[in-house]
């Protein structure tokens, strides 16, 4: 088998999943599946998400849209119109996987639900990703990223004590839904290629979030207590300021004496004033390190040292002595990180239409025989509408009529 073919070559994915399913489609596209994104006439909402390329708002310039949609084809279709529905059905007949994220019941009402589609294409895997799933008391609740992070219990963890929690960037509830939908769909596709029969997958964002609570559910079930994030739990664990930001140190963690000794050796080697008290046995116990006075004493000795150095120095010098210390990196630090650069993790390409270089995170994994591939630039709005309609049997005249009737949108040939 040639190396140029991805592991998912031959799989056709129809992606009609707005802001939730984009990343699912990307995972498939970058491993060689043919992914056709169906956008509504007004375009995928992610096209309107800030920030934009060179900060110029444009339907082809949303950084999120660009990132999530390389290697895909794009067709713009109004599936609420009769002819739009007919096109959707014809496309579904050619597909192995349909990804959708409409409110529960919406596609059924249009007579485009699983039963209809599986009747015309029995091998189809039909994956729905919604806020709360297709049944239950919250089925019809409107959702967004922050509300499902909240209802699934993850947001509560993002603070300590009585503090207000804060949301992580880049719509992680949607990302979790996208990752679970991808893995679930892949399982169902493997099964369908064997049995010839697809199935229906119902993915709830709230449930995806609820699986990401580390040990919080078990802590309540087994010990009856409720946890939040952990901050300065004990001396030698947590965020400490340094010359140009912060570092995260894990030297004190429970009964692990090795970590503590390694750390103390480093401080002594660095001639940190007062560090020799850390050799005393009491400092090797979490009970002592958790005391307020221990935390204060620790800061008085450690922070004057960290404030003399930048995070990169503390990171590399500490790690070279086997101390688990890390920089609290900002986006610039990440992009300039020598390790990330060495591994050529970032991907880039030149975009003629945007008039410059586009940079983005690259492969999440490396497959030795079937490499990951960024693929072509993301589709411009309606770029492949005509090509795909022709493939399923419509002629130029019909396509023109569809366009005039608002059934589809066809991008003008290259501008």
């Amino acid at each position: 088998m040639s190396k140029s073919q991805g592991s998912l070559s031959g799989i056709r994915v129809l992606e009609f999943a707005g802001e939730i399913g984009n990343y699912t489609g990307k995972l498939f596209a970058n491993l060689g599946a043919e992914v056709i994104q169906i956008e509504p006439i007004e375009g995928n909402p992610v096209r309107r998400a800030a920030p934009f390329y060179k900060d110029i708002p444009d339907k082809e310039g949303s950084l999120q849209f660009i990132y999530q949609n390389t290697g895909k084809k794009g067709i713009v279709l109004d599936i609420e119109k009769e002819q739009g529905k007919e096109i959707f059905l014809k496309l579904a007949k050619t597909a192995d996987l349909l990804l959708e994220s409409s409110p529960p019941g919406y596609l059924n009402k249009l007579n485009l639900g699983y039963d209809r589609l599986s009747a015309i294409n029995p091998k189809l895997v039909y994956t729905s990703v919604t806020g709360y799933g297709q049944n239950g008391p919250y089925r019809d609740y409107p959702w967004s990223d922050i509300t499902t992070l909240a209802m699934g219990g993850l947001l509560y963890l993002a603070a300590q004590g009585d503090d207000l929690p804060a949301r992580v960037p880049d719509n992680q509830a949607f990302m979790m839904g996208a990752m679970h939908a991808a893995t679930g769909s892949m399982l169902a596709l493997i099964e369908a290629e064997y049995s010839g029969r697809g199935q229906y997958l119902d993915v709830s964002l709230q449930e995806c979030v609820a699986t990401a609570l580390e040990n919080a559910i078990q802590l309540y079930d087994l010990e009856g207590s409720i946890r939040r994030g952990i901050g300065h739990f004990e001396a030698g664990m947590g965020i400490y300021p340094c010359q140009d930001g912060y570092v995260y140190l894990v030297a004190g963690i429970g009964g692990n004496v090795n970590l503590w000794n390694t750390f103390v050796d480093w401080l002594i080697e660095e001639k940190v004033e007062g560090a020799d008290i850390f050799i005393q046995d009491e400092w090797k116990t979490p009970q002592f390190r958790r005391k307020a006075e221990a935390k204060q004493r620790f800061n008085e000795i450690f922070v004057p040292f960290t404030m003399k150095h930048n995070k990169l120095y503390l990171f590399e010098n500490g790690q070279n002595r086997r101390v688990t210390i890390h920089p609290v990196n900002n986006p610039r630090d990440i992009c300039e990180d020598s390790h990330i650069r060495y591994r050529k993790f970032m991907a880039d390409y030149f975009s003629e239409s945007l008039g410059g270089q586009v940079f983005m995170p690259g492969a999440p994994y490396r497959l030795s025989q079937t490499p990951w591939n960024l693929g072509a630039e993301p589709p411009k709005l309606g770029q492949h509408t005509a090509e795909i309609l022709q493939e399923i049997g419509y002629d130029a005249k019909q396509i023109q009529d569809f366009m005039q009737g608002g059934v589809c949108f066809v991008a003008q040939a290259s501008s």
């Binding site: 909240a150 990196n329 999440p364």
Partner: protein, 406 residues
């Protein structure tokens, strides 16, 4: 269980421990793979030593931290320093389809179990390694805990409030979702390729790279626009109001997201069309974004008068995107999650019935099966030796005496 599962007949030799690895193989185990977890009594999966413990009493067989990510697996314990243990592993490799490990880079190679060694005895193996920093580069041997992955990749810097210290998500998110789910997806893609072509392969996942793939925007904004994003509380770049507002009670909040003009009208209606909402400062989305600090304060004065459940009902009825900030107890008792049977209680010899999360993917034909609590240390050693290696009782006892199993 009666229905066939997608991975029935697939055997996984699971060397993973602690975080991201065991969650990866759990996905495979729920969907029918036979997952054989290799442990060692002298070098435990250290989640066994971390709370929560059944009734708060510590014990190697009592940790819910360990159990929730290891159901449905068979547990065998081997003394990897013993020559014959290595022979057993090689014999098991010959009978396996997938290997998964998440040790520091090159650890498996030191045991003679790296990909190049393994493919000599099992050419079509799918071998997934998840080294923290990948397999090469200047920091390849650096060590870290889950929270430090979040530190390195910007989650701490980007999550919190701008005027406060970096904070993060309060949990090691990369370990729990991006790393295991990407690895599982790659394994399944490789499995499909193997079914088509007969060819196995090596998969490498760096635990700092895969999670960066779900945090693209701050990186692109820097590389393309030169902007270094900072944490921004609960603001949204595109919409306002958007955030978390207090309701009655200690540590009780409601999340709201208004994403269109219609939704703003809905929120206004839910609030009883207050006069302040008609001010020019809040007239359209752009103004609401510009004046969101003031807007959020006014909304908070309104929400704080309500009990969370009542306010949620009111807002949902008005078609506003809203959700309560639930803690673990709320989540465990949540009507929706329980309607969908998200929590499964499995019996365990020492812990009794205790809770597990069910797969968040509900499949109509091949639903995930979660029916075996996490294994005791070495619970299945004898069975696996007998079933897969044809070791009879006498040989097993002899090897046991020799210290092959620990």
């Amino acid at each position: 269980m009666s229905h066939k599962l997608p991975l029935n007949g697939i055997r996984v030799l699971d060397f993973t421990w602690v975080g991201a690895g065991p969650i990866t193989t759990q996905v495979l185990a729920e969907y029918g793979a036979e997952v054989i977890k290799i442990e060692s009594g002298t070098r435990l999966d250290y989640l066994r030593l971390l709370p929560p413990f059944k009734d708060g009493r510590a014990g190697v067989e009592r940790s819910g931290y360990f159990s929730n990510r290891n159901p449905n697996k068979k547990g065998i314990s081997l003394n990897l320093k013993h020559r014959r243990a290595l022979e057993i592993i090689k014999e098991l490799i010959r009978k396996s389809d997938i290997i998964c490990e998440n040790f520091t880079a090159h650890t498996m190679e030191r045991w003679g179990l790296g990909y190049e060694d393994v493919r000599k005895i099992k050419p079509d193996i799918i071998y997934a390694g998840m080294p923290l920093m990948g397999s090469d580069g200047p920091h390849v041997n650096y060590r870290g805990f889950g929270v430090q992955v979040s530190s390195l990749i910007g989650i701490l810097h980007l999550t919190g409030f701008p005027e406060e210290e970096p904070f993060g998500m309060g949990t090691n998110y990369p370990d729990h979702v991006p790393n295991p789910m990407h690895t599982a997806f790659a394994i399944l893609a490789a499995l499909r390729h193997k079914k088509k072509t007969g060819e196995g392969q090596y998969i490498e996942l760096s635990q700092i790279e895969a999670p960066l793939c779900v945090l693209p925007t701050p990186i692109m904004d820097y590389m393309i626009n030169g902007r270094v994003q900072n944490r921004q509380g609960n603001q949204h770049l595109d919409f306002a109001p958007h955030g978390i507002y207090p309701v009655q009670g200690k540590n009780r909040w409601i999340a709201l997201a208004v994403q269109s003009e219609d939704e703003w009208q809905s929120l206004k209606a839910a609030m009883g069309m207050p006069e302040w909402a008609e001010k020019d400062a809040f007239a359209a989305n752009a103004e609401r974004i510009a004046n969101q600090t003031e807007l959020n304060e006014i909304i908070a004065h309104w929400t704080v008068n309500y009990a969370g459940d009542d306010l949620l009902r009111l807002l949902i009825k008005a078609k506003v995107r809203a959700g309560l900030v639930k803690d673990a107890r709320d989540v465990l008792h949540d009507p929706q999650l329980n309607y969908r049977r998200h929590f499964v209680y499995l019996d365990h010899p020492e812990m009794g019935y205790h809770v597990y999360n069910y797969s968040p993917v509900h499949m109509s034909k091949t639903p995930a099966v979660l029916d075996q609590a996490a294994p005791l240390l070495g619970e299945h050693t004898k069975q696996v030796m007998k079933d897969l290696l044809n070791l009879d009782e006498g040989m097993f006892e002899e090897m046991k005496k020799e210290g092959v199993f620990d």
